[in-house]
């Protein structure tokens, strides 16, 4: 059953990805990208990553879609037609990269392997520590906020940085920027 869900969801993702590649309508692509995130979220649930699924749904399907739509109203809806032919260079690059990754999977632990090295090293301590020391049920939260809390501080700083950047870029009225774009630095006499 798990396997079936897994495969169906992956297939849907594949179809969406191809559709994104194919469509020339940016609005459609944006919506498809949202759908992609939502389907991913479903798959993440199937993979036991409920926290991540939750976030991916909220961010990928929610906020980032809204931002893209906002961008589209400010720019335009359609991609230029000429850009659609298959370009050899990028294709080659992608094939090589993909082949490399697949080559790397050969020595990977099998999917779902309960004895994968990653499960044996640090994880057991986290499980025990969360149960005994921190005493909260959600292990992900325990790691996120305490064991690896510093990463999360960094993550908050990343979000803050994005806010600073967007404010710097879009914080002012458009006319001010247009006026500014043409000037040279004021020469101090």
């Amino acid at each position: 059953m798990e396997l079936l869900i897994d495969i169906v969801l992956l297939a849907i993702l594949g179809i969406i990805a191809v559709a994104i590649l194919w469509t020339r309508h940016l609005f459609v692509a944006t919506m498809l990208s949202g759908a992609y995130s939502l389907t991913s979220a479903a798959l993440l649930v199937a993979l036991d990553a409920v926290d991540v699924a939750f976030t991916e749904a909220a961010v990928g399907a929610g906020i980032s879609t809204v931002l893209m739509l906002g961008t589209l109203t400010l720019t335009r809806r359609r991609e230029k037609a000429t850009n659609r032919r298959v370009s050899i260079g990028p294709l080659l690059l992608v094939i090589v990269t993909g082949a490399l990754l697949i080559y790397g999977t050969v020595d990977m632990p099998a999917f779902g392997d309960p004895n994968a090295p990653a499960l044996l090293h640090v994880v057991p301590e986290y499980l025990a520590g969360t149960r005994d020391d921190i005493q909260i049920p959600n292990i992900v939260t325990a790691i996120l906020a305490s064991y690896r809390g510093f990463d999360t501080l960094g993550e908050t700083a990343v979000i803050f940085t994005a806010g600073v950047g967007v404010l710097l870029l879009l914080g002012r009225r458009r006319e001010e920027d247009e006026e500014a774009g043409t000037r040279r630095p004021e020469r101090e006499a």
Binding site: I20, E56, V140
Partner: protein, 129 residues
């Protein structure tokens, strides 16, 4: 053979998805499309990470008191962080797109290149004056 496929199929499909995203980033000239490509690429990487944490027959890593088999929580934590980084990048990228559109009246790479080479000639002409 079947065993190999069963053991790795998830990774392989995810890798193909990743590459589809990367292809959009590299090959497409539309700036919004590139960002969408980046999103697909990154989302697929998230899937790869989470896939490697999956334990067959495991459950979500939330303690319920029973002795259960949990999937590996570390990739979940890492990917939570990565998602945040991803949305931050997307927001900033899109803000740049908006400004580029305002400055160049286009979001197609080739048209921007054209405009920039015009800029270059204008610069030179100004200095000749």
């Amino acid at each position: 053979m079947l065993e190999l496929i069963l053991a790795k199929y998830n990774y392989w499909i995810v890798i193909v998805l990743m590459m589809a995203g990367l292809y959009v980033v590299v090959a497409r000239g539309n700036l919004v499309k590139k960002i969408i490509g980046l999103n697909v690429f990154q989302t697929s990487v998230f899937l790869l990470y989470i896939s490697m944490g999956k334990v067959a027959g495991g459950t979500a890593p939330i303690l319920t008191g029973k002795d259960e088999v949990f999937s590996n929580p570390i990739p979940h934590v890492l990917i939570l962080t990565a998602i945040v980084v991803g949305i931050a990048t997307t927001a900033l990228g899109l803000a740049l797109v908006v400004r580029i559109r305002e400055a160049y009246s286009t979001i197609e790479e080739d048209e921007i290149d054209e405009a920039e080479s015009l800029d270059m000639t204008a610069d030179l002409a100004e200095r000749r004056r």
